[in-house]
Symmetry: C2
Subunit: 393 residues, 2 copies
């Protein structure tokens, strides 16, 4: 058979870290003890009340389709959570339960983005985000950001890069890979500028809840006319359950429902029943304990990376990543990551996965493993750097 | 905020049955006993071994992401199932576990279909299928089919409608809404004709396992160069679990993996562990018992609808639908369905949901409820028709 890939597949890039992960697994198969600091998945198990709720539902045997937008009680709990955490009133009718944040992105861009329209994003940013744009034939305009704006877009940058082809702006706070937040006023101004320009504002809030100082503001605090993408994966510790949510502006609810019916039918029923327990006091208490642990891990990793010669211009306030400049150590971060893995069995993610903004100078370290394991990783990294500096990689 | 829907949303039609379902729920809220024959979801619970496997996995607490293509042991079990049921050898590397057949369609068309390319489909057919095409900016050419070809496409129809813009052909067997199968030789010829024309063949096999005479052939029996979409929802009784699979031709495995990483990350982990038990002997024995029950329901419903004045030119051999011509009774099947619901609280699906091929003459009845309930539905339908014929709806 003649193979003819869709042209969009030329712009949907692979994750370089997947090759690295593959090599890591080969090392493990050889008996090597690999320390994984490349993975964007917390090491904590799903909170017990969430597991219990799922098991209880499964035991009924009635795992039937839910409505496309999700269980109404879950949408109501999500709405109540916005009231409680952000002081924001959101109608459950605007909330769509989705198969992960992935599903939320599909829905948000599916209802709003036309082929050939452009979305502005910070560079560096999470690679999937621009690949969703490519899926619908849209284009991503990557705007290089630096420490001056905390690696976030600003109203000025948005105005400066806006063209007649621009559909909207995606802001991710806390950011993957930089872990930095957009502060409250700059977020407010960015949204206002997008509204003045007549565009859509997409707020990626999947790392909300994982902030270690001032909490991240939701775009909903400043406007009802925004798309908010969120997930039970990261803060709530429910990665493998594949459940997230999308909040749409009023005018998009019918379209979002229609599209969800067609492209998902619905989100996994047992994941939805499980998520009903995600807002229980006992669950939230455990999640806050974990947040404290993440804050300690961040401090530990930050101090060690700086000590070892990496530059981290701003101490990140959220998510579970440090994006470290390695220009003092290498001019090829991808090769550095490959060599580090081969020599010392420590896996990290090269900057190349996050855009075109001097990626060869950056590496992402995920603190999704214990301080004990990270201490061992730092000892190995130190040994590696000592040899590397002598030019014997 | 200015609302600007993506243009694709103009071609992604709503399901008319959703309005009907909404009305049915209003009636139920008023205390009416609605008989649901509109729903494409079996009434049987998920088989116990499948539930048990999910619970066992959940109790580990380790509900982490799997690889994008799914658990290798599950892909191997699916491959073994093809060997056993169809005598076909498929490499697990070509099998992608997806969030339902919905995910399989997203992946199949995402890797292969360009904007403005056309897909040929039988009319009537399941509405989502053409909406997936619209999602990617493609176009559906609906080919009116009738009893002569068992409501299926043929090699001749394909050749006749093929243009320079045609990318491929979608065949669904057993078909929703008609319940008819494409016979083995016509399937073989249809695939061969698409290959000769240099296009893609997409085989929707989500109702496989639910055939009541000669089993449905898989497109894989005649070619490795086809896309096969399947699901654990229907035969395996796992609707709410949202898990299916896609089999791609060799040349598409890398692209499918790349796209799956980006748009799903992975399918729900506990659904995958659950599905590992779907091929157990005890599960399959229960599913075969259910198949026998569906066959009895089909016979019961077929005889009753014919008795009441509907025309069903071919007795369907699969799925759990009868597509009944109601031209003897009404010239507006949609209004008929609405009136039947209001007067007698029996919910069925109007032909309008399945295309443009004389939809006002057709109604879909799902036998996803017990013979006892269907007997009551038939009594109500008979009362309704008696009044309707007298012109007092």
């Amino acid at each position: 058979m003649h193979v003819s890939l869709a042209s969009r597949m030329q712009t949907i890039s692979p994750f370089y870290v997947m090759d690295l992960l593959h090599r890591a697994k080969q090392l493990e198969a050889q008996g090597r003890d690999v320390i994984h600091m490349e993975i964007g998945e917390p090491d904590f198990p799903t909170p017990q009340p969430v597991i219990d709720a799922a098991v209880k539902h499964l035991e009924t045997g009635e795992v039937k389709y839910t409505s496309a937008a999700g269980l109404l009680p879950l949408r109501e709990k999500i709405a109540a959570f916005y009231q409680q955490r952000y002081g924001v009133t959101v109608s459950p009718q605007r909330i769509f339960v989705t198969p992960g944040a992935s599903g939320a992105f599909l829905l948000a861009l599916g209802v709003s983005l036309n082929a050939d329209e452009e979305i502005l994003m910070a560079d560096p940013c999470y690679p999937c985000n621009s690949n969703f744009v490519a899926l619908f034939g849209g284009k991503t305009t990557r705007i290089a950001v630096d420490a001056v704006t905390r690696y976030q877009l600003t109203a000025d940058l948005i105005k400066q890069h806006w063209t007649t082809a621009t559909k909207g702006v995606l802001v991710a706070s806390p950011s993957n890979p930089t872990g930095t937040l957009i502060a409250d006023d700059p977020l407010k101004e960015a949204i206002a500028s997008v509204h003045r320009l007549g565009g859509c504002f997409y707020s990626d809030e999947i790392y909300h809840g994982l902030a270690y100082g001032h909490p991240a503001a939701s775009a909903l605090q400043y406007s009802d006319g925004v798309f908010v993408i969120n997930s039970f994966s990261k803060y709530f510790g429910m990665t493998g359950w594949r459940i997230g949510w999308l909040i749409v502006p009023d005018g998009y609810t019918d379209a979002a429902e229609r599209l969800a019916q067609n492209i998902f039918i619905a989100t996994s029923t047992h994941s939805q029943y499980a998520a009903l327990a995600a807002f229980d006091d006992s669950t939230l208490a455990e999640l806050e304990r974990r947040r404290g642990e993440f804050a300690k891990r961040r401090d530990f990793l930050y101090e060690n990376l700086v000590r070892l010669g990496f530059t981290i211009p701003i101490k990140p306030e959220g998510a579970f990543y440090l994006y470290a400049n390695c220009a003092n150590l290498t001019d090829d971060s991808h090769q550095f990551a490959l060599d580090l893995l081969a020599a010392q069995a420590v896996a990290i993610t090269p900057g190349k996965d996050f855009g075109n903004n001097q990626p060869q100078q950056w590496l992402r370290f995920a603190y999704t493993t214990s301080i004990g394991r990270m201490a061992e990783a730092m000892a190995r990294l130190e040994r590696f750097i000592t040899v590397y500096k002598r030019g014997e990689p």
